[in-house]
């Protein structure tokens, strides 16, 4: 019995976005990463293309964070004490891009300064040839101060600056405009908010091929279904031709999953949770792999083992 397979006739396409600039484009990166270009939902090769595979960013910090799971400490070891070493280790662990995130305070509890931001960005840029994504600590004023400094220091490198949020996007977008960078536009799990922020950003003249949408996700067990569905909806809207949703998506399953008690805590938890290390990596893996299936173009992870496994998944997927 011949079965006619129904195929979607999407009219839209995900925009191509390139991170990082090599010497030819005025930067110093040895590798660039291009994401986007998809003409159907992820990996449905029977009806469309996915010219660029989803990629993995590894999150490193400007200094060893105090509140990360000890399992991550074991995985990265001494490298965590220096952002340059950490960036090198992340590159070796298979990162396609380095996500440098600043802590809210230095070891003495003081807020990081613009000079510190510059020095750290410089160090990371020297340590790795990968594209770099720079995230502030998440406080508007401090983010602006650090990101403007980072933008200056990395001028021409096509960094990604984040997080742009509806309450605080203007300075970051301006810094991206002034120094030729990209932005990571984060909204709280809502299709219309994501669109609205993109409209605001384009209104400031930053072209959409320099915008990554970050629709926010929850971790497995902590609201992943919202992130999962919002990404699915955004991608469907993009394919239906809604221009303001056609940016590639970046999400942070690593950060979310490693906040969960399941990954953070090894003692005093139910036996039914199973082996700590296995479970913790699983938490990140399940969160990340499901988001890759729902449309993520960049997933930001923390543990080298999950990086390895998500890479294997993406490679298997792309082999079609």
């Amino acid at each position: 019995m011949p079965v006619e397979i129904p195929k979607e006739k999407w009219t839209g396409k995900v925009r191509l976005v390139t991170l990082g600039a090599t010497a030819a484009e005025g930067g110093t990166r040895t590798r660039r990463v291009t994401v986007g270009g998809g003409t159907t939902l992820p990996f449905l090769f029977f009806e469309g293309d996915m010219p660029h595979k989803p990629v993995i960013g590894i999150e490193i910090r400007d200094r060893k964070p105090d509140d990360w799971s000890p399992l991550l400490g074991l995985a990265w070891g001494e490298a965590m004490n220096d952002p340059g070493d950490w960036a090198k280790a992340a590159e070796q662990a298979g990162a396609d891009a380095i996500v440098l995130a600043f802590n809210l305070a230095d070891a003495d509890g003081k807020a990081p300064t613009a000079a510190h931001a510059k020095a750290t960005v410089r160090k990371v840029l020297q340590a790795t040839g990968l594209p770099v994504i720079v995230n502030g600590p998440g406080q508007a004023d401090l983010d602006n101060e650090l990101l403007v400094a980072a933008a200056e220091e990395g001028a021409g490198e096509r960094l990604v600056l984040g997080l742009c949020e509806d309450r605080n996007y203007r300075t970051i977008v301006a810094a991206a405009l002034g120094h030729g960078h990209l932005v990571q536009a984060r909204t709280a799990m809502d299709v219309n908010l994501a669109k609205q922020l993109n409209i605001l950003i384009t209104d400031m003249q930053l072209p959409l091929d320099r915008v990554l949408m970050d629709p926010t996700t929850g971790a497995l067990g902590y609201g992943i279904e919202y992130g999962y569905s919002v990404m699915e909806r955004l991608r469907i809207a993009a394919l239906q031709g809604d221009s303001m949703t056609q940016c590639p998506m970046i999400v942070t399953p690593g950060e979310e999953a490693w906040k969960a008690k399941e990954s953070k805590v090894g003692e005093g938890v139910p036996k039914a949770w199973g082996d700590w290390q296995e479970r913790a990596i699983n938490w990140e893996l399940v969160t990340a792999s499901s988001l890759v299936e729902s449309g993520a173009d960049i997933v930001v992870l923390r543990h080298p083992e999950s990086v390895k496994r998500v890479h294997a998944m993406i490679d298997a997927m792309m082999a079609g």
């Binding site: 449905l44 039914a272 949770w273 479970r279």
Partner: protein, 451 residues
Amino acid sequence: MALSGIEIYKLLPGGLKPPHPKANCKECGFPTCLAFAMKLAAKQAELASCQYVSEEAQEKLAAAAAPPIRLIKVSSNGHEVAAGNETVMYRHEKTFFHPAGVFVRINDSDGLDAIRELVSTADEYKVNYVGMDLAVDGFAIKSTGDAATFSAGVEAVRGATKRPLILISADAAVMEAGLKAAGDSKSLICGASPENWEAMAALAKSHKAPLTVGGSTLDEMAELTDKIKAAGVEDMVLNPVVTTLPEALGVWTQLRRLALRKTFRPLGYPIIAFPSQFSADSQIAAVQAIAKYAGFIVLDRFNPADLYPLLVFRQNIYTDPQKPIQVSPGLYEINNPGPDSPVMVTTNFSITYFSVSNEVEGSGRKGWLLVADAEGMSVLTAWAAGKFDAERIAKTVKSTGIESKVNHRRLTIPGHVAVLSGELEDELPGWEIKVGPREAVNLPQYLKLME
């Protein structure tokens, strides 16, 4: 074109002119014929619930009402796993209704003692997630080819669990032995292929058991389900041969689309997935199976560290987007609070609860968290809907006995509902109402300042 509730209503007893004597009889479980009609239109009710519909009306309605993916149940001893009856491609369109059954696979050659031990451990496995107990749904037993071994293996499994079974063998004689050993439970026969379908269909028919139908192409499977249906078997589960992650994703997506978009009956059945068959990383494969349409999932091994995340993931994906997961209202202790620890209140929407409790827990500070019954809504939504008002918060304070646990009377409410503070002071005489931050992420800072 689906019928609207009103069009359906016109065919029901209450909508006839003049009305049928049984108009609004409530026997269907709905208060009026109109309410029932609207539920039918939303595919949330079965026409069979009404005994008074005329035959003519039944014909008109049945075409519109038959679910595009047949509901298949396997059961035993009061346990039941149902798959099918799904209505959407994406969960945000409505919801996914029947969570994929998760089965653990045993080989009949593993040795009876080992089988018994593994099965009873897995059978007892239970993990709590937001107040729900998650467990394995059943077991699959795979034959290595010998009927007696299979029979003994099934018996051993049957002795160790009451849960439903999936019996795996390509040999009808072996399968028959297994079915016999499984007793009167309704097991899933796995299964029919183009080579053995006649004998398998006969077994399915005589045991009134659902049957998986294998095939390497959709054409082949569609042909086979038609033949098996003609042989008198209605309950089938599709078992397409897939060898890679993207192939599985593609085939499953096509099957779901054919059923939902084309109402293609020959492939309108749930899907069974064997994650280890199409990926070296069976955890990732199982995640894909849960998200992308499998009705039954057979895992190769029982490992709590794999299983717990998978069961939670299934729970998450199958949450009704319009009816969020709730946590039980009440008093939650964070980091062993004492009598002078701060008291905070939030709603029982699970994500809200988790964000708040995670932030407080992560901050290392102690605290009492009161969770009010806000019908599972987030703070702002619940406030707007009148489900998180001064009265409800006061009730939570009084009913949880927090007053006897702390030596102060300071209650922190979410910043988004600052407007409740005055009213709340009226409702809770003696309490001082503090307005906390709007977002949970700012709680650690707030708690630090409070000290």
